[in-house]
């Protein structure tokens, strides 16, 4: 074009500040370490059930665990909103694959086969 001669040196450069992108709660974040892997970890460490007669307390404690976990994973969202977003992510192919894998890990057959290997 016509401007090629000046190599564009004389042109003023406009600095446009880009807006900081809003972090999204997407499958990457959900599957990253603070996401579900962490949930699996903390649930093993922290979750203790008292059993019969303490049904409500047990469930409340479990819900609190979820709430803390979600708050750390994605502090922006309220608990209910965050849950709805995660539920929706659960429909994606990638998350479904991972879910199946996690379930299979728990299956006795799977473990047995690994032992053979």
């Amino acid at each position: 074009t016509a401007d090629d001669s000046g190599l564009g040196i004389d042109e003023e450069i406009k600095v446009v500040k880009k807006r900081e992108p809003i972090p999204k709660l997407d499958d990457n974040r959900l599957l990253s370490d603070p996401g579900i892997p962490k949930l699996r970890r903390i649930s093993k460490e922290r979750l203790k059930f008292k059993g019969k007669g303490h049904e409500y307390g047990d469930i409340a404690r479990m819900l609190n665990m979820y709430q803390f976990w979600l708050d750390e994973l994605y502090p922006r969202a309220k608990f209910a909103d965050g849950l709805a977003m995660i539920e929706k992510l659960g429909h994606s192919k990638r998350v479904q694959m991972m879910r199946k894998e996690w379930i299979d890990e728990g299956k006795p057959k799977h473990n047995a086969r690994e032992d053979e290997d």
């Binding site: 979750l47 819900l63 609190n64 309220k78 539920e87």
Partner: protein, 741 residues
């Protein structure tokens, strides 16, 4: 350049139009020497001219200027009603007065015609005048109802009486027109309701439904409706849809059950309601008080909330959270500012707003009494002829039948069925009561009064209507259809409990027909599953229908062990397989014959044995659970029956069908927990609380156990389950599939 106030206050109406209309209104007449209204010299011509202005200037140019002018000039109250009052005593004898009255009515009807903004035709002009005209119309309604010197509505009917008296065959189109405008006038008066978008400055009680009902009673309008409706098909034909509309706007939202309660019972029911409301409020306030701060609001407490990993803390302020773990968790959540963006709800247009029949309407006790008498007389004399006639008109898709009429038809069918059942129940109770003299006659026992809507033709129409409105996503239509179907089912159930053997037989027959079509079963499952943002009224209708349908089907299939259903799909798949097999065998036949085969297969139907448990299993799946959860979210507004309905459903899911895994989701657990343990939970004194408390406790126990057995549930708890893994999560082992060799 300076702007003056005059420039700002520009007349929204074309000044020329205003001048013309005003001069006509002035020429019409005014207060005479004797203090009453006296006509101008050419009053009749003025009325006709005014009508022409309304018709041609507004109608053809697609504007509302003239209507606005007339509203501003106080034409209705100042002139038209005065004229009617003046001519009223002699309207049937005096030809000239009758002419004047007809001309007046011809002007009143378009002026009171409910204003709507047509999305296609509307111009800026419509939007400019809309609110003003809507308010003016409410003022018209008030003036008509409260007019103290003459009965305006009655006068309107009297104008039409000479035409009504003429036998149907001899009526001229002019006569038909007069009858029509009189009926439309009545309809307009019932239909006009204060717009929600604009505040009105008159007492709403003066234009409420109760006021209309009282006026109808006082002016004998109910008698007119009854006589037109009962002789429909003989003396009246095309008026059926107008009567339908009058009935619809008169009855929508009124609680049919309450109407037929005996006064004593009603009063005690009302006190009970008040009591329970006060109780509800008390428990609500107590709930707040439990969490309210005990010191002034600048006390400035701040707490650290230790989180799982020991180093991290959250800070929360306010002493109300001290020592209350759950409360602090809730507060932590509440203080978040971001909300998940929601899709804005679909805007409901004016028509839908007016047609809204899910909003309950309260009546004064006098209006209640009057409408009850009317409904009883209507059921006794007019229900069958009118609804038979309407059904035929809808089936034939007659020109006068519009889309909204089918919706109104089905809503009214459901309304009257409910009313009839309620009436019978009170009659039976009275008869059972030894103190009263009332005895049940054979006629009282039979269901003949509503027979015309309990036949196969109506069921076919209803099924077609539901299917069509579902396909077209006309949710309000579907809502009305579902309400109708539910009432039909409930009526059939009452019939089968009847003491008369014939009734039992008829009920059996009807059930046979309803349950015979598999497509009906599938449709109900499908509507339940595909709920999405259609609003509370729809949600109530869809859950009620599924509940009633499932329960009755269960009962019926238990009584009729070898029940058969007509199934279409099955035939198709079998034929398809056959076709495939043939295709493999005889390649040369090619695709053409295969398609023909399939087409033929689609039409064939086969009968097969009905298996209830298989059908019930279809009801239980993730989407129907979601629908019921959406309904349960309103738990604080649900009444006992509704709470029970939800309870039965979840009980079926969790324990009868052993598919509790569908409910293992954090949001559902949280909802259950909140319902029982609060804050803002279910009122613990409410009768259904105990039932729910037990269910939730029981359910939570199974959840805890399951998680201990299968830790992978912790993750799965976040999501809706994939069908492949449901069985494993529930039972802990994979389903044994027959291995293929």
């Amino acid at each position: 350049q300076q702007t003056t106030l005059d420039e700002w206050a520009k007349d929204p109406v074309d000044p020329e139009i205003r001048a013309h209309v005003y001069s006509l209104i002035t020429a019409l007449g005014g207060t005479g020497d004797d203090g009453t209204y006296s006509f101008g010299d050419d009053a009749l011509l003025c009325l006709k001219d005014l009508r022409k202005w309304l018709k041609f200037a507004d109608g053809q140019l697609n504007r509302r200027d003239v209507a606005r002018c007339m509203a501003e000039a106080n034409l209705v109250k100042g002139d038209l009603l005065e004229i009617l009052a003046k001519v009223s005593p002699k309207v049937t004898d005096d030809r000239l007065k009758h002419k004047l009255a007809v001309a007046t009515l011809e002007l009143l009807v378009p002026l009171t015609w409910p204003f709507e903004i047509d999305p296609v035709e509307a111009t800026v002009n419509h939007h400019r005048h809309g609110p003003y005209i809507q308010l003016a119309q409410i003022a018209y309604k008030r003036a008509i109802l409260q007019y103290d010197r003459t009965h305006i509505l009655q006068t309107a009917v009297r104008i039409a009486l000479p035409s009504m008296a003429i036998p149907l065959r001899e009526r001229t189109p002019r006569d038909d027109g007069i009858i029509r405008i009189a009926l439309y006038f009545i309809r307009n008066v019932v239909m006009l309701s204060p717009p929600k978008s604009v505040p009105i400055d008159i007492d709403e009680a003066e234009v409420s439904r109760s006021a209309v009902i009282d006026a109808f009673q006082q002016q004998d309008i109910f008698q007119v409706i009854l006589s037109v409706a009962s002789s429909i098909g003989e003396d009246f034909v095309s008026q059926d849809v107008i009567v339908l509309e009058i009935l619809f706007y008169l009855l929508k939202g009124i609680d049919a059950e309450k109407l037929f309660m005996e006064e004593k019972k009603l009063r005690s029911k009302n006190t009970d309601e008040l009591k329970s409301l006060i109780q509800k409020e008390k428990s609500m306030l107590a709930g707040y008080a439990r969490h309210a701060p005990s010191r002034h609001n600048r006390f400035g407490t701040m707490i650290w909330l230790k989180r799982g990993d020991d180093e991290q803390v959250s800070t929360i302020s306010g002493q109300d959270v001290l020592g209350k773990a759950q409360k602090s968790m809730q507060k932590m959540d509440m203080t978040k500012k971001w909300n998940k963006p929601k899709r804005p709800g679909r805007k409901t247009d004016g028509e839908q707003e007016r047609e809204e029949f899910d909003l309950p309407v309260a009546l004064t006790s006098s209006a209640q009494k009057h409408i009850k008498t009317f409904v009883e007389e209507f059921l006794d004399s007019s229900f069958n002829p009118l609804f038979l006639h309407l059904r035929k008109a809808i089936e034939r898709e007659t020109e006068r039948v519009e889309d909204r009429h089918s919706r109104q038809f089905f809503y009214l069918v459901s309304w009257f069925l409910q009313a009839e059942c309620a009436r019978r129940r009170t009659m039976k109770e009275k008869a059972a009561d030894s103190k009263s003299k009332q005895v049940l006659s054979a006629e009282d026992e039979s269901y003949g009064l509503v027979a015309e809507v309990m036949n196969q033709e109506t069921f076919i129409l209803m099924n077609r209507f539901m299917q069509k409105s579902e396909d077209e996503k006309a949710w309000q239509d579907l809502n009305a259809g579902m309400k109708c179907f539910t009432q039909v089912l409930l009526t059939v159930q009452e019939m089968s409990d009847s003491a008369v053997e014939d009734d039992q037989e008829i009920a059996e027959n009807i059930q046979n027909r309803i349950f015979y079509e598999e497509s009906t079963h599938d449709r109900i499952v499908h509507t339940l599953r595909s709920y999405k943002d259609q609003g509370f009224g729809y949600l109530d209708a869809v859950t009620e229908l599924s509940h009633v349908f499932l329960r009755m089907l269960e009962r019926y299939s238990k009584q009729n062990v070898d029940m058969q259903v007509r199934s279409k799909r099955r035939a198709r798949t079998i034929r398809k397989k056959q076709a495939e097999a043939q295709g493999e065998d005889g390649e040369p036949e090619g695709h053409v014959s295969e398609r023909e085969d399939l087409e033929a297969a689609q039409k064939t139907v086969s009968e097969r044995k009905f298996d209830f448990s298989r059908f019930a299993a279809k009801f239980i799946n993730q989407s129907s659970v979601n629908t019921f959860i959406a309904f349960l979210k309103y738990y604080n507004e649900l009444d006992l029956d509704q709470l029970k309905r939800v309870h039965r459903f979840f009980h079926r899911v969790a324990f009868k069908m052993e598919l509790g895994v569908l409910l293992y989701r954090v949001d559902i657990l949280q909802l259950f927990n909140k319902m029982i343990k609060g804050p803002e939970g279910l009122d613990s004194d409410s009768p259904s609380f105990k039932e729910w408390e037990e269910f939730v406790r029981h359910f939570f126990r199974t959840v805890v156990k399951r998680i201990q057995d299968r830790p992978e549930l912790i993750v799965e708890m976040l999501f809706s389950k994939i069908p492949q893994t449901i069985f494993f999560l529930e039972h802990g082992y994979d389903r044994q599939l027959p291995t293929r060799t």
